[in-house]
Symmetry: C2
Subunit: 251 residues, 2 copies
């Protein structure tokens, strides 16, 4: 694990860029921790969507909310062909999205993404200010395409937020099989008028997920229109499972 | 409005029974307010489900959470053929439920329930410790059968929680027509494996509701298995709309 030197300490949150070598792949990541943090704490891995990157607005906002509101650590990495893993910067989102459809079809795409995240877990948890606390995962759309297989493969993940995905696309069968193996508590976020992901395919994925403790939250609107309310709920949901206590009706 | 004299003041919550005469119908209710409350405050009407009554566990718990956690007032009334409106006490829930199916089919059932709630609003808001603050409604199952028409007819209701219902049953057409007129922010609670209410009919009702600001929360399990989490969220959702402020991701 190599620090890339881009560090910021703002409003109680330290953000640091890092670089991992995973079987020859250079994987750039970002880590958010409380200023002056010492000792083990819960960690949330945040997976971005297709055409986005490890520091896009909603990833950064969620990471900072988890750090500031709960004292957690948060980590994000660029997916293959995204962010600092693109050969040329400055491509528009449609270009990156089109290339992702090819990546999604590539044999090894899912296995490599899972390996990238597992290496990130190993590296980040070796830091004393993160340590071996409980781990959560948050990722919608592409973040679910790779997040479900990650949660299926990775017993360290104890709670997850998925969504904006169904049993569709080139990895549909793999996604369904891995979903059945997932048993951690989870929140599934759906956009009710999502024109990319048919409603019934979303229900198929939600049904396939093996967790007994799961809930589906649907909001009217298109794929990318997830409301702030679901990010607020996500943070509370992750916090409730990673640092229990204090979320009772009678409080 | 006549007080029935059954009053309790426990843990900062005053609960009082009352009786209204609504076009010759005797309508028994309960009102929860903060101990020593003075002046206007938000009010939540809580509608119980079929075979239940105005003081059943979840109604009482939600009412007390709104009073203690937010300083609101809450009111509940017995539906026709329920609670203190039954000719003989002690009938079992199946008997009461069966009779409700007849009541649901009776002409005037919906209009009378709406009138009972409107009279409750008038009476309760005339009290100085409740006053003319904003009003919310919470009611699942039978509480939605009558709550949707109430919200359609009653401009004082500014936020609502519905659920455990679909476009089914003898008032299906009325329910659909009234749903289209509802425009307030709302939460819709669904039980994913509800054997009483077909999943698709639930989606039809959710789609019919005219509100732009709406969300559907689905949890695996049967009709009556709504988890505590949805009551916690209900209280927060009502509070956010009736007493805005303080529910931001960055907090």
């Amino acid at each position: 694990m190599e620090w890339t030197g881009d560090t910021a300490d703002v409003d109680g949150v330290v953000e640091r860029g890092f670089l991992l070598d995973v079987a020859g792949r250079r994987v750039p990541g970002a880590l958010w921790t409380p200023s002056g943090a010492e000792g083990a704490r819960p960690l949330v891995l945040v997976g971005h969507g297709a055409s986005h990157h490890k520091r896009i607005g909603y990833v950064d906002t969620l990471a900072r909310a988890l750090v500031r509101g709960h004292g957690f650590a948060a980590a994000a990495i660029d997916g293959a062909g995204h962010g600092d893993r693109r050969p040329s910067p400055g491509d528009d989102e449609m270009t990156i999205f089109s290339e992702f459809l090819g990546e999604w079809s590539r044999d090894g795409s899912t296995d490599e993404a899972v390996a990238d995240w597992a290496a990130t877990l190993d590296a980040v948890r070796s830091l004393p200010e993160v340590g071996d606390g409980p781990v959560g995962y948050w990722g919608l759309s592409m973040g679910t395409i790779y997040g479900v297989p990650l949660a299926a493969a990775e017993p360290r993940i104890q709670v997850a937020v998925f969504g904006l995905m169904g049993l569709v696309g080139p990895t549909r069968d793999r996604l369904g099989a891995d979903a059945r193996v997932v048993t951690c508590p989870l929140l599934f976020i759906q956009q009710w008028d999502d024109s990319l992901i048919p409603r019934d395919s979303t229900f198929e994925l939600f049904d396939a997920l093996g967790s007994v403790d799961k809930r589906l939250h649907a909001t009217p609107g298109e794929h990318a229109a997830v409301p702030a309310e679901e990010f607020v709920f996500s943070a509370r949901f992750l916090a409730r499972h990673l640092a229990p206590g204090g979320d009772e009706l009678t409080s």
